[in-house]
Amino acid sequence: MKLTDEQRGGVLVVRVDETRVDASKAPLFKDEMARRIEAGHTQIVLDLSGVDFIDSSGLGAIVSCLKRLGPRGNMAVAGAKGAVSRLFALTRMDKVFALEETVDGALGRLGA
């Protein structure tokens, strides 16, 4: 699981450098994100611009990050496109976390 971190002010931007987040990658992704949250990052932008496909396990892993952040934390997702964007639409993820086309837009949503 390849993730690239970038600290933008108080927000940690995590870019997912994988084309797929499926059942085989989801547990690793979950652990990696959990490690960052345990390290004290509460404001997170997840950059999915490089991801082509997310399955139900991948979606569960992303939502579990949000749950782990709890009420004090916040997460926005940027760059979802194609099948990923359609999955988010179908499952109404806009109700769960902020969805933006760009990282900057997502940063704006987090008030950074």
């Binding site: 099948a83 179908l90 109700k95």
Partner: protein, 691 residues
């Protein structure tokens, strides 16, 4: 030889070397033994000749005494009895040595015969002398010749013996010759002692023959001395030289001049200046001196031969010791080679073969040695330990493998049983009132996270749901069974006016946080009003195939169940009249990827439905399944797949029971997959998602 084993070669080589050594020593011993026997023979021969020499000297004495006695000459001081005893003693001694067991003289019998012949002659002569009486003077000369002949025979016997046992040592040979020559000297002196003594005593008796004999004897003495002188060139022992010097001086200064003057006087018929007694004494003294020479020569020979015998004895003993030592060394070598090399090789090679044949029970000899055999048995011990460890590991692995296979088979049996049970939970294609339905169900493994159900309540209303639990395999399957049960119960027990969205919200609120979420379409049909209602919870939008041939997706999504605790859901109402069909499917259908990694997609599904709007539901399901297999290029799936088609097959309230599909020819099957792609692009040239 090439087939011989190392141990046999070693033993054979050691034995060959030992045999060669023993053979060499044995041959040397044989040579030395021959030398030893030769030395013994020389000693014997020497001893016999010594006695014969003494016998000849004593016979000379006896001859002088007897001859003068027979002739009646006075003045000769000879003890006849003593002389005879000396002769007999010497003969007996010679016979003893000859007959002695270990004297291995070649001519033993011949010599004994010759000796006894001489003794008989001497005995005859003695008998004649004793019986002569007054006629002695007449037979004296004849007797003298007879005795001289006997003495010559003894001397001949001596010479024969000397020539037979030809000594190799030049000094011993010289000694022998000197003794022979001194014998001649002694004999000629002794003859003249007798002859001259009588002639001086009785001038009348000296006839010309006697005088000639006397002169010849003197010549023989001179010749003997010349021969002795010739042999003196050889280094002689000092006592022999001293005796020779003294005897020669006596001979040249006294005996020879006196003898010649006496012979000359007798030839002239004049009385010699010397008396018979004086002459006898002079010769007696000379004979004693010559005897001394002979004694010294005998001592020298004896000493030399004894030393030679002793030397050969010593050498023989040394070689015997060497032989015994050699045999012991060879036996020891063979023993050492056998015990220290051959046996260990047998043991080690036997053990190696056992190990090579996989007999790990083979016991490895504990030699306690630090040489190559110790190293070999140490190495073997390591080999064996390794082999044992390998064997143990292999056994462990085999056991583990068996246990794993058993566990896997048990798990698989369990899963197969679970899959069979899960399948029985799915409703078979059936008709419930005005509604009929059929389903397609393909798990990606044995059990699936997908499930669906169609229920009819007591009031005749038909409800349905299709669920897809996040993930797949056993955990998803267990959750799908749980959700199947919960949803079925909720649908059967709900009050009439409770909207579906409320049921979903309640289930969502009660969903345990640590279980995976699921997506679903849950819906119901109100036949009376010709409407259907549904809640979309994260599930793909179902397609509504209208009786007029239109195909359109229903709904725009909704939150999955069990993801967000306080989620709310929307009810969607749609018209559903005779001939309308609803195609509900899980995302495993549209996300199924080709070998190139391309998803099947909603667009392809929609196109497939567009071209098959008229196909009966069962054929449509078959068509979807076949098309998907073609798309995948294999029988396997990455995700669970289920499709449920529900169809209002007659006008609501129609109760005739007549069975006629409102549209479509039941015999018509779905359009073959091969023509789909072409149809697809024609049917929807924009090929865009219209949402």
């Amino acid at each position: 030889m090439p087939d011989m084993k190392i141990r046999h070669i070693l033993l054979a080589l050691t034995a060959c070397l030992g045999a060669a050594l023993i053979l060499a020593v044995t041959l040397q011993i044989r040579t030395e033994a021959l030398d030893y026997r030769e030395a013994q023979r020389l000693v014997s021969s020497n001893a016999v000749r010594e006695q014969l020499l003494l016998a000849a000297a004593a016979m000379g004495q006896e001859r002088s005494g007897t001859y003068l006695h027979l002739a009646g000459t006075r003045g000769a001081g000879v003890n006849l009895g003593l002389a005879r005893e000396q002769v007999d003693g010497a003969f007996s001694a010679a016979e003893r040595v000859l007959s002695n067991g270990h004297s291995t003289l070649g001519s033993q019998d011949q010599s004994l015969t010759a000796l006894s012949a001489v003794r008989r002659s001497v005995a005859d002569l003695r008998a004649q002398a004793d019986q002569a009486g007054d006629t002695g003077n007449a037979i004296a000369m004849r007797w003298f010749r007879g005795m001289s002949q006997a003495i010559d025979q003894v001397q001949t016997l001596r010479l024969t013996l000397l020539q037979q046992e030809r000594p190799q040592n030049p000094q011993v040979r010289t000694n022998g010759l000197l003794r022979y020559y001194s014998g001649i000297l002694s004999e000629s002196i002794a003859r003249n002692q007798a002859l001259l003594t009588r002639a001086i005593g009785d001038i009348q008796s000296a006839d010309p023959a006697t005088l000639e004999g006397i002169t010849r004897n003197i010549g023989r003495s001179d010749l003997a001395w010349e021969l002795i002188h010739d042999q003196s060139a050889t280094a002689l022992p000092e006592p022999v030289q001293a005796a020779l010097r003294e005897a020669r001086e006596d001979y040249e200064t006294t005996l020879a001049p006196l003898g010649r003057r006496a012979a000359t006087a007798l030839a002239a018929q004049t009385r010699p200046f010397i008396t018979a007694t004086e002459w006898f004494e002079v010769t007696e003294r000379s004979l004693t001196l010559v005897g001394t020479i002979q004694q010294q020569l005998l001592v020298s020979s004896r000493t030399r031969l004894a030393r030679e015998l002793e030397r050969t004895e010593r050498v023989l003993a040394a070689y015997a010791v060497l032989l015994v030592g050699g045999i012991v060394a060879v036996l020891l070598s063979i023993l050492v080679v056998r015990n220290r090399i051959v046996r260990p090789i047998e043991v080690i090679s036997g053990t190696m073969l056992q190990l090579a044949n996989g007999d790990l029970a083979a016991s490895i000899p504990r030699s306690g040695r630090t040489d190559e055999f110790g190293e070999m048995s140490d190495a073997l011990r390591v080999f064996k330990a390794n082999a044992l460890r390998r064997q143990r590991l292999q056994q462990d692995k085999d056991q583990l493998h068996v246990r794993l296979r058993e566990a896997y088979q048990m798990l698989r049996r369990d899963l197969e049983a679970a899959a069979a049970i899960q399948k029985t939970m799915l409703p078979a294609p059936a008709t419930l009132g005005d509604l009929r339905y059929a389903g397609l169900y393909r798990p990606s493994s044995l059990v699936a996270g997908d499930t669906f159900n169609v229920l009819q309540r007591d009031d005749g209303k038909v409800s349905f749901f299709q669920v897809d639990v996040a993930g797949h395999g056993a955990p998803a399957a267990l959750v799908s069974v749980a959700s199947h049960h919960i949803l079925s119960q909720a649908l059967l027990k709900r009050s009439d006016n409770a909207p579906l969205s409320q049921i979903v919200a309640e289930i969502n609120a009660d969903w345990p946080d640590d279980l995976p979420y699921f997506t679903m379409i849950i819906g119901e049909f109100d036949a009376a009003s010709g409407h259907g209602r549904m809640v979309q919870a994260g599930h793909p939008s179902p397609y509504l195939i209208g009786s007029n041939g239109t195909v359109r997706p229903l709904g725009e999504g909704g939150l999955p169940v069990g993801m967000i605790p306080n989620a709310s859901y929307d009810d969607l109402e749609f018209s559903f009249t005779a001939g309308d069909r609803l195609v509900v499917y899980s995302d495993g259908l549209i996300e199924a990827e080709s070998s190139a990694g391309e998803a099947f997609s909603e667009e392809r599904l929609e196109a497939l439905l567009q071209v098959n709007v008229s196909a009966p539901s069962a054929d449509l399901l078959d068509g979807i399944d076949a098309e998907l297999r073609r798309w995948r290029g294999s029988e396997s799936l990455d995700d669970d797949l289920s499709v449920l088609i529900l169809e209002q097959w007659r006008e609501a309230g129609h109760s005739s029971g007549s069975h006629s599909a409102p549209r479509g020819d039941p015999s018509r099957h779905y359009i073959a997959a091969a023509s789909l792609d072409a149809s697809f692009s024609e049917a929807d040239p924009t090929y865009e998602r219209k949402q």
